[in-house]
Symmetry: C2
Subunit: 275 residues, 2 copies
């Protein structure tokens, strides 16, 4: 069976970078799981002795702590440093940017609006950098209930949000405020994977999507693939492959969710190529 890989798939730049950083710091531990993939966390533990803290309280002096791609709130970072832990910052540079923007804008006299999910760790971190008036919303209608302290608004977005919705929010802001400073902090990685899956699914007769069964971005890839290629399957690893799927097929497309490591993808491809 011939296999064709999507032009974009799997880990984004920030996750690849974080794993690379973890591999370079044996005997360290990450503050919370580094990615949503237990197999990869197990590999870092067994091959590189990279452990896992669940709470700030677990950290002891001289411990080496790795900050995850989506960052942590400013005060948590302060707490870690006050414990005299060695802090290795693997926050994605695309997340550090909105953190720094929020810090600068809030000290420059802007009200801050963050487009994102208030409960997401990335947004909690970004929000914590505001020194003054800050608001988080997911829908343009929520603007109606916000009373901004200033008539100059600076706005950033959670990296994984949709641009169309961000523009809706920004447009509403512009009509009501003298100055709106728009920082486009949305990262293309998620959408590049989706576009590539859409494209590939049009030219193959079977699609394999590799990723967690509970991962929302993986499920989205599956649903996109199924639109063009009804024979699309979601698997977590090569053991879930079923030879029957490949009967009378000639070309198999492969893509993977944002938390799927390359070594799992390679095992799946090797298996399919043997059919």
């Amino acid at each position: 069976m011939k296999v064709k890989l999507a032009s974009n798939y799997g880990f984004c730049f920030g996750v690849k970078r974080a794993i690379n950083i973890a591999e370079q710091h044996q005997n360290s531990a990450t503050m919370g799981p580094l990615i949503h993939n237990q197999k990869e966390i197990d590999r870092l533990q067994s091959d590189y002795k990279v452990g896992l803290y669940e709470n700030l309280e677990d950290v002891k002096p001289n411990d080496t702590v790795i900050i995850r791609t989506h960052g942590i709130p400013k005060n948590d970072l302060k707490t870690l440093k006050s414990k005299e832990a060695k802090v290795i910052n693997a926050t994605c540079p695309f997340v550090t940017t909105p953190q720094q923007i929020v810090k600068k804008m809030s000290t420059d006299g802007y009200s801050i609006l963050i487009f994102g999910d208030e409960n997401h760790p990335e947004v909690k971190g970004v929000k914590s950098y505001s020194e003054d008036d800050v608001h988080v919303i997911l829908e343009p209608t929520e603007l109606d209930n916000i009373d901004f302290k200033y008539d100059k608004i600076a706005t950033v977005a959670q990296t994984t949000r949709k641009k169309e919705k961000y523009l809706e929010i920004v447009n509403k802001l512009i009509l009501k405020n003298k100055e709106v400073r728009v920082f486009n902090t949305i990262c293309d990685a998620t959408f590049e994977n989706q576009d590539a899956a859409r494209e590939l699914s049009q030219e193959v007769d079977i699609m394999i999507v590799i990723g967690g069964k509970n991962s929302s971005n993986t499920k989205q890839l599956l649903s996109i693939a199924q639109e063009n290629c009804p024979q699309s399957y979601l698997i977590e690893d090569e053991k879930e492959l079923n030879t029957k799927w490949f009967e009378n097929k000639t070309l198999c497309g492969v893509t993977a969710g944002a938390s799927t490591p390359d070594w799992i993808i390679k095992k799946v491809i090797n298996q399919i190529e043997q059919y």
Copy 2:
């Protein structure tokens, strides 16, 4: 005949202010016609000895020169000052704002985008305040041909432009640039007159629109009035009123273009009330 005046009509804030300034400076002259209404210019000439310069070259030392509401290019202002003329600045504050924004942003490392008509005096003035990269467009598609020098863009709009189109342009900018600093410099006056004409035309049985037959904003008011009230007429002054129009009518709505002085409107209303 009963008369009802639109809730917004005629001169905007900036024009009222400029005429007030002219009245306070007898024996001065404006740089170009103060407004597009010959009767008002004649009145300022006869009652306040306010004359008219057509060119910068006409200005002599110690002359008192009034700058019009839409401002003049920075270098023209410099030339006037170098001639030792006394410069009275009647530039509308809503036009001074984008001038100052363009100046500040261009020295702060932003590329400047102006939404407006390159040949309009207001835009020529605003553009002249840029110290660096500056572009003027009327349509979002024109962005495709612009190669901005910086990835930080600051944008302002000509005061009389439509917001919807400005948002289209801004949205396109946001998708392509890291930071877009949007200054909403559009003035509501034009649109407030239009909204008021629309509202009033629904409750009267005849509408009189007062203004220049060649004035585009007056013609727009007429067309809006006619949508609801087919018996809508455009006149330049009370002499053009026709008693026949008012037969069997009970309530007459009145509005006026942005260059129509109050004293002309009053004469028209007095005349109609006598029918």
